[in-house]
């Protein structure tokens, strides 16, 4: 008797996607409330803000990689473009809204140009080109010293302020970034569930027969990349103004691996997967700090544990927690 009851409660939890989002939303609100009341200290607020920023990144990458099947490894570089554009614009006196707009548009345009250049390539080669593009942007970040001050990075980036209201403390930024994250989830969730979203999945499954239904494949891909570029820019701008210091090496390999891990662990082609992936990997990273490791071997051992966990997940749960598809 017990199991049947347990099953149908959880059955509703599992089946209706809405339940997942509802529970997540409730937990999120509780955490924010605790932070604002100061019960949980600023460290939690910081972790939540970072989760929000990377969440926007991961669902936008999932839109392109999971739903449309485009193996795009340039997302982290677009994130960097957004950060640098937003920081440089604000430091040269433009208003925040204008610089946010440009910080979103520029990566979008870059994404479309990249897609235009690689429209004929198959998935493996697309992966190589986008990986090359990331390295190209990284070497521009680090070598174009006159614009980005190269390895010195940009510091003292002013905080976000619009209509003479500045977001000062971490808690305020937490609320702002959570709103941004929720809005992004709503938008991308609706895109994937709309008929356009269905088209994206069709592009992933079988381009040729989609062409024969009179759909302009290339235009669809451009739109998908543009949208994901926009959100990468948004995340970049939030990151720049939150940490007030950006440097080239936070937009390269280490973060690229983090993003890919999040998507694979969370599960491709499912928004729940992308969101859940970010939360679980961030908590994994932070809880590694609690492990009592003797200080002299602290650093490398944490990395080794992280790598081992990553490989184990790949071996035993390649589809990820919520994943529905396996990328061919």
């Amino acid at each position: 008797m017990g199991t049947i009851q347990k099953n149908n409660i959880i059955e509703t939890l599992k089946d209706s996607q809405k339940a997942f989002w509802l529970i997540l939303f409730v937990i999120d609100i509780i955490f924010i409330f605790l932070c604002l009341q100061g019960i949980l200290n600023e460290y939690f607020a910081h972790v939540l803000v970072v989760i929000n920023i990377y969440l926007i990144l991961s669902i936008s990458l999932n839109l392109v990689m999971g739903f449309t099947g485009l193996l795009n490894l340039s997302h982290i570089a677009l994130f960097g473009v957004g950060a640098y554009t937003s920081a440089l614009m604000i430091m040269n006196g433009y208003s925040y809204l204008l610089s946010l707009l440009l910080a979103m548009l520029l990566p979008g345009v870059f994404a479309v140009l990249l897609m235009f250049a690689t429209r004929k390539l198959k998935s493996d080669y697309l992966m190589l080109v986008t990986f090359g593009f990331s390295f190209l942007l990284y070497s521009i970040f680090i070598s174009w010293t006159s614009l980005t001050r190269g390895p010195l990075g940009l510091n003292n980036i002013p905080k976000i302020s619009f209509f003479d209201f500045t977001i000062y403390s971490t808690n305020q930024f937490l609320v702002f970034s959570t709103i941004m994250a929720i809005v992004s989830i709503i938008i991308i969730y609706n895109i994937t569930k709309s008929s356009f979203g269905r088209l994206l999945q069709a592009v992933r499954d079988d381009e040729i027969s989609l062409k024969l239904l009179g759909k302009n494949i290339e235009l669809i891909k451009f739109k998908a990349m543009f949208i994901s570029g926009l959100f990468a820019g948004l995340a970049g701008s939030l990151f720049a103004h939150y940490s007030q210091y950006i440097e080239p090496n936070s937009f390269w390999i280490v973060d690229l691996i983090f993003l890919l891990t999040v998507l694979i662990v969370g599960g491709l082609a499912s928004n729940r997967g992308a969101v859940f992936g970010v939360i679980i990997i961030m908590i994994l990273n932070e809880s590694l700090r609690l492990l009592p490791i003797p200080s002299e071997i602290l650093g490398p051992t944490r990395q080794i544990i992280y790598a081992l966990i990553l490989i184990l997940i790949l071996l035993y749960r390649p589809k990820g927690i919520f994943g529905r598809i396996d990328l061919k």
């Binding site: 609706n190 895109i191 569930k193 709309s194 008929s195 356009f196 979203g197 269905r198 088209l199 999945q201 069709a202 992933r204 499954d205 079988d206 040729i208 027969s209 989609l210 062409k211 024969l212 239904l213 009179g214 759909k215 302009n216 494949i217 235009l219 669809i220 739109k223 949208i227 082609a269 529905r324 598809i325």
Partner: protein, 248 residues
């Protein structure tokens, strides 16, 4: 009135001349059959019409548009829909998705489809979908995924998609290959019903008696060229056809 006119079409892959100057006139509201030994260029002809592959020379005119050099999706927008010998469906999408995507083309407009979803204005066109599925005789719940269909059911869904897509001409690539006789008979009835509804159909098929029953006009091809054309009965006992088909 000729719907589709193909004149002196040439297409070769490396040294192999798949199409070597062949000509066809497809009459409106008729079933035209295309037969020939394997590798005589039948499927290549379809691919060239659909612009999945581009021809070297020769012209294709459809409803007096010259569609020799246009993009694949424009061909299908003009109203040519097609099925495949081995249908590849969208594995993770439902039957309803397949048909809806075939029927409407406005899902490409991002903002329109986004706001429809946002405000839940999506009209329910299941009725029309079921109508087409019944026409094709595919009784499966609308939310079954592409991956859960058998070979025969995939063939029927492929046919349903071709019908659902707004079209003036349907090109069928071996619709009954590997299909059990009962289903084969059903497909025959479907094609005849479609012809009565004013459709124009081109069929590629090996099963001679299937062709004989339904075709109004038959083209026989061999190594990329027209061999002979005419009524099914004339073709049946034509010497050259027997030699090309059975003689080897």
């Amino acid at each position: 009135m000729t719907l589709l006119k193909i004149h002196n079409l040439k297409k070769s892959f490396g040294g192999v001349k798949a199409l070597n100057g062949c000509n066809f006139n497809i009459e409106k509201n008729k079933i035209t059959a295309l037969i020939g030994p394997n590798g005589c260029g039948k499927s290549t002809l379809f691919n060239v019409i659909n612009k999945l592959e581009y021809q070297e020379s020769g012209t294709i005119t459809f409803l007096n548009y010259n569609i020799s050099k246009i993009r694949p999706y424009l061909v299908s927008e003009l109203g040519i829909s097609r099925t495949f010998q081995y249908p590849t469906l969208f594995e993770n999408l439902t039957i309803r998705d397949h048909i809806e995507m075939a029927m409407f083309n406005d899902d490409q407009k991002f903002f329109k489809s986004f706001f429809i979803k946002l405000f839940g204005l999506k009209k329910n066109n299941d009725k029309k979908i079921i109508e087409i599925l019944n026409l094709v005789g595919l009784e499966k719940p609308l939310n079954t995924l592409g991956s859960d269909l058998s070979y025969g059911q995939r063939k029927l869904l492929d046919l349903a998609i071709a019908i659902a897509h707004p079209h003036k001409l349907i090109m069928l690539d071996e619709p009954v290959a590997g299909i059990n006789p009962k289903l084969r008979q059903k497909i025959k009835e479907i094609l005849i019903k479609l012809k009565e509804m004013g459709e124009t159909i081109i069929v590629i098929e090996h099963d001679m008696n299937f062709i004989m029953d339904i075709a109004d006009h038959v083209y026989v091809m061999e190594s990329g060229q027209n061999l002979v054309e005419g009524k099914p009965k004339e073709i049946q006992n034509n010497k050259k056809v027997l030699e090309a088909y059975l003689g080897e």
